[in-house]
Symmetry: C2
Subunit: 448 residues, 2 copies
């Protein structure tokens, strides 16, 4: 889209006040485009824009979906006072998420201008690792004393407008320990004069503040929780995680799984600035280049054989590709199984045995087909045999390595998705070339 | 785990009544193991097991997580009357999901034994495509007439125990058209004597029954909906989709995205029976074999050149691998961007231009590194030049094809994740070999 058109669309969306469409248009634009668009908006248009994107109701989405570059660009165009007013109105968790994406100078300036209570709350949240329960929870949790009555609780729900999405009331004692939980439905069904202590359920599943966000997502999905309280080791109530936080995490984890397997940085999106993309991907390509050189060394050993039987070169790409695909099939099943908790380290051996069977069976099937193709193409029966045997061997190795590598990485607490693919293809390439060219060297007199 | 150990664990879990742990143990066992375990359980143990796994509260999870083979195995071991009693207690959507996984004879037998109303509800759900809103909704929706009072509504919430997870009351007119929505919180805050018509919000986002489950998931995540009503084209209320249904869909879609890219069938799990796994993956491997033969043909054309300069064979794997990785990076970003709605067909050209820049830049970086490595390794300066030029060209093609193929598939309404990877690597393999060996042929006199 030409900039002129984009400016017109944005002006129109600002007039009708559609935050959702605006967010979509901005999210699917490069930061450079946003920059040039902003310079064409007038002061009041900018104001409307910010109020649409960062009003407390939609702010968490804006912060989640926008890249750091885009948010930085937006705030650069905003008068300082307006920006501060807006930040003051955010929920503490949204503010912390926003600060996590802005430059540290901006964050410092904001923090010093906020009132002490809010500053304190946000700073605490910023101190938690972003990928733990503490990093995704909302510290603005709706809690009541266990001595309050149902009537008082209903009154409190009525007047409480700050905490978003109340499903449960968390009941605490004098030391702020979480002691019980009452659902809105239970509240409706109880006598107004009853004391919360007698109404509440004391069987509360709480999340520890330092649990990983992936664990939290698994727990909440598995139990169909809408919201779960977050506590410290002493069971003091620190915050609440709601299902909408978790849906973001599930999307994020799934995307990261996919990206890591393909050698893409987890933060990269379609509209990441070009220079950042080049840098991210170059790293991975250079690592891959190094492992390729290793595989090339294996081929290099057999240059003498290739010199004698040049048609071997023609089949090298097939050996490499089949091993790679087969390894990545096993790998994908394994990585996803580990990520979703479908397979534990303790029963991994069952899966390894299964994968070996599958690998050998497919080695035989594909090896046979390839042997027939090679025979009709080149008219050399032994070539077919060499291809078939090396394919069976390579698909066996692909299954073995594809299953073992992610389990090994998981055991030493490295995310299996990160490094598995490159390790597995290095193995299949090297072993594939070695077995194919090695066998050919042994049987070279039948090949010329 | 040996079967004896498994039986002991399961007996113990049955005694303490832990549905969750039981489900986990069974889910991570092969169907063949389950079969042998069952034959060792006594009648009453089997009964306890089924009641734990299929009580209405956890049934939806059991049905979702268990493979068809496992469910079939479980039901084979169950006396018919017990099974029927259990099915009668299920929510209609859980029953429909279960029936979707059982053999058609079993389903027919169940359907004829259910009472007409339940049969009717389940049959209707079964008629919807499993991947649409109709396929995941619960037809047991809590609705009230717009003429009822708040007091009556509270009464209804109190006595209503059948519909799971009520967040909103859906308000309908006499013809069952959805006309409004009231949250539990609004209900608490309103005068008991008020009529729902005056309390309700008429601004209701409803989902059309034939929308795809991916769209539903996107919509609900984006708007942080906890539940959304499902209507037909005339706005008649048909059911409700709750956030727990959608979390399952998000996981499923993410897994499918990942699987399709790696050439794995979407239903395959770690504990899929071996024969099924072999068949699933063989299909993909054979398709890959066919495309590899195509790439091999390109190498075949240049056998004469390789005969003269045998070291070219050593570098073939590097050319193929770098093109493949680079193409899959672009592809992954694109496929995920399209799946999450981050990029639309209309602004795809911006992304294509970006990817081309990134491809060429990384071609130059990696080509340079490779040229230097090749020069020091083989001592032939022109070899480095040939490698660099063909790598730049191949990474350009990788970016172009990696971006265009998913967009093209999306335009003709094929899931980009399914076929993109194999098409892109075929292109990068063929083009990579052609440019590398073609350039080498042109410059052959500087290479020997």
């Amino acid at each position: 889209m030409a900039n002129g058109v984009l400016v017109k669309i944005i002006s129109k969306l600002l007039r009708v006040g559609s935050a959702e469409k605006l967010e979509k248009v901005l999210r699917t634009s490069f930061p450079e485009e946003i920059k040039s668009i902003f310079s064409q908006l007038d002061h009041s248009q900018k104001n409307v824009l910010f109020n649409l994107l960062f009003n407390p109701k939609v702010a968490s989405r804006t912060v989640r979906d926008f890249t750091p570059e885009l948010l930085e660009e937006l705030f650069n165009h905003m008068p300082w006072e307006t920006a501060l007013e807006l930040v003051k109105k955010l929920q503490p968790d949204d503010a912390a998420d926003l600060f996590g994406k802005l430059s540290s100078e901006k964050v410092q300036r904001f923090l010093t201008s906020l009132d002490p209570a809010q500053k304190n709350q946000i700073s605490k949240l910023l101190a938690y690792d972003k990928t733990t329960a503490g990093g995704i929870m909302n510290s603005n949790v709706f809690s009541l004393s266990q001595t309050a009555t149902v009537q008082e609780a209903i009154e409190a729900v009525r007047t409480q407008t700050q905490a978003p999405m109340i499903f449960y009331l968390y009941i605490i004692d004098e030391q702020k320990h979480l002691v019980g939980i009452v659902s809105l439905r239970q509240l409706i069904m109880s006598q107004p004069s009853a004391v919360l202590k007698d109404v509440m359920s004391t069987n509360v599943s709480a999340i520890l503040v330092n649990q990983s966000q992936a664990e939290v997502a698994q727990l909440m999905t598995r139990h169909n929780f809408l919201a779960a309280p977050v506590v410290d080791e002493e069971k003091k109530l620190l915050g609440v995680i709601t299902v909408d936080d978790v849906m973001g995490v599930i999307q994020e984890e799934a995307t990261q799984n996919l990206y890591r397997m393909a050698g893409v940085e987890k933060d990269e999106r379609v509209f990441t600035p070009i220079r950042k993309s080049i840098k991210n991907r170059a790293t991975w390509l250079l690592i891959n280049l190094a492992t390729c050189v290793l595989a090339a060394q294996v081929v290099n050993i057999f240059e003498g054989t290739i010199q004698k039987v040049v048609m071997l070169a023609t089949f090298l790409p097939i050996v490499a590709s089949m091993g790679g695909i087969s390894g990545s099939q096993t790998l994908t099943i394994m990585v996803r199984g580990l990520a979703l908790g479908e397979v534990a380290i303790s029963d991994a051996w069952k899966v390894i045995v299964k994968e070996l069977y599958v690998g050998v069976a497919n080695g035989v099937i594909n090896g046979l087909v390839m042997a027939i193709v090679a025979y009709y193409w080149k008219g050399v029966p032994v070539l077919g045999l060499v291809l078939m045997l090396s394919m069976i061997g390579n698909l066996f190795i692909a299954a073995l390595v594809g299953a073992l590598v992610p389990i090994g990485l998981k055991t030493i607490k490295i995310d299996p998705a990160v490094a598995s693919a490159v390790i597995v293809t290095t193995f299949t390439d090297c072993f594939g070339f070695f077995s194919f060219l090695g066998l050919a060297t042994l049987l070279v007199k039948y090949l010329v």
